[in-house]
Symmetry: C2
Subunit: 227 residues, 2 copies
């Protein structure tokens, strides 16, 4: 599904260069349930953003479904994201002026789903993450973990074939975490959706099929560790 070759990502900050990722070679097959683990600052978010086509590498190649992502236009890349990828951001990135329900409806509206179906699908997704009753709260009127769950519901609402989640349980208690992890495992088992997540959460690490260890922007375990 995803093939990354010799990926380099540098950030330029005035005079300094931060080598956020170096020499990353990685293949993710359809239907995998992969965890990315590493210290704070090791490059997980950078890697998630590249895989989700939210950002571009400084060097190297990324293929998604055989397509060279860097050869696509911005519009084609946006289309690819909207049609096949669900992304849970570490900082949630919810729209503050929309309610929880409207935030979750948005990807379906962009995709062009029939209006009669959109609200119902979004409601179901919010119920699944334990937020029935909070549909009308705007993000600023939700707790941290509730915002995180709206972000998760939004990422799952289009039934994406690829879900990329950046520390999706960081703000959740263990019971709520367990439900969310169960939900993701279920979608992976039943629908074959591919899951790639970065996490510091041992409960989530216990559930993965394969572990990628990052340190200082490099993969240090060959990308094929046991969970």
């Amino acid at each position: 599904l995803i093939a990354m070759q010799n990926i380099q990502k540098d950030y330029h900050l005035g005079e300094t260069v931060v080598h956020a990722l170096t020499g990353v070679d990685l293949t993710i097959e359809k239907g995998e349930f992969v965890a990315v683990w590493g210290p704070s600052g090791s490059g997980k978010t950078t890697l998630m953003n590249l895989m989700g086509t939210v950002d571009e590498p400084s060097a190297g190649q990324i293929l998604i479904n055989g397509q060279d992502v860097l050869s696509l236009s911005d519009n084609q890349r946006t289309e690819l994201r909207n049609q096949t990828i669900g992304f849970v951001f570490q900082g949630f990135n919810l729209l503050p002026v929309l309610s929880a329900l409207e935030n979750v409806m948005l990807p379906l509206q962009i995709k062009g789903d029939p209006a009669s179906k959109v609200k119902e699908k979004a409601r179901l997704r919010l119920d699944e993450v334990g937020l029935s009753g909070f549909s009308h709260h705007r993000p600023g009127k939700l707790s941290g973990g509730q915002q995180q769950r709206v972000a998760i519901a939004r990422a799952l609402v289009t039934d994406p074939s690829l879900v990329i989640a950046d520390e999706p349980t960081a703000n959740l208690d263990s019971d709520t975490s367990r439900k969310i992890i169960g939900l993701m495992r279920n979608l992976n088992n039943k629908n074959g959706a591919t899951f790639i997540f970065s996490t510091h959460d041992q409960r989530l690490l216990d559930q993965c099929d394969r572990l990628i260890k990052l340190e200082d922007g490099k993969i240090i375990n060959g990308g094929n560790g046991k969970c």
Copy 2:
């Protein structure tokens, strides 16, 4: 140090009322190291905000150092916060246009510390949380866990007698977490600084002296649980 009596906090959302905290009675003594634990949405942030005078209760009384917080003017409350409280927000609340160093310097500048001392103190605090070398990054150029650590450094820079931390290790890996927890325990043991934190992190819960369990806005373990 802190006495809360019959605290009620309601949020009004159009027609609905959310009872975020109900009937909370709580006393925190000087030098305590207290954890607040509970499911997502149970009222932890609301409680932290009330204790830190960042927000006001709908009913009930809060005394800090014997002072009735609600009888103070806004200016007096701001003064109290700046002089004696260090607050780590769940969402960090860093100023995006200031560098990491400038964010950490700010409370000292507000306090009126000599300019020659301010930069040095701020640098030391950033080193302590493992961020030497990142002083010039603005928050948007930092990883999630690095932003969280800037927020922690900023909360500690004025050597506050009361530190209130809302899920301070949510975005940190276990090694970095352990260092931060060690740092907080050390300040508590050496300087007698009182620590109150909300957390889902078992490593942090293992270190506390006393546990307060919240559920649906109520304290369910008498506020005096073992850790």
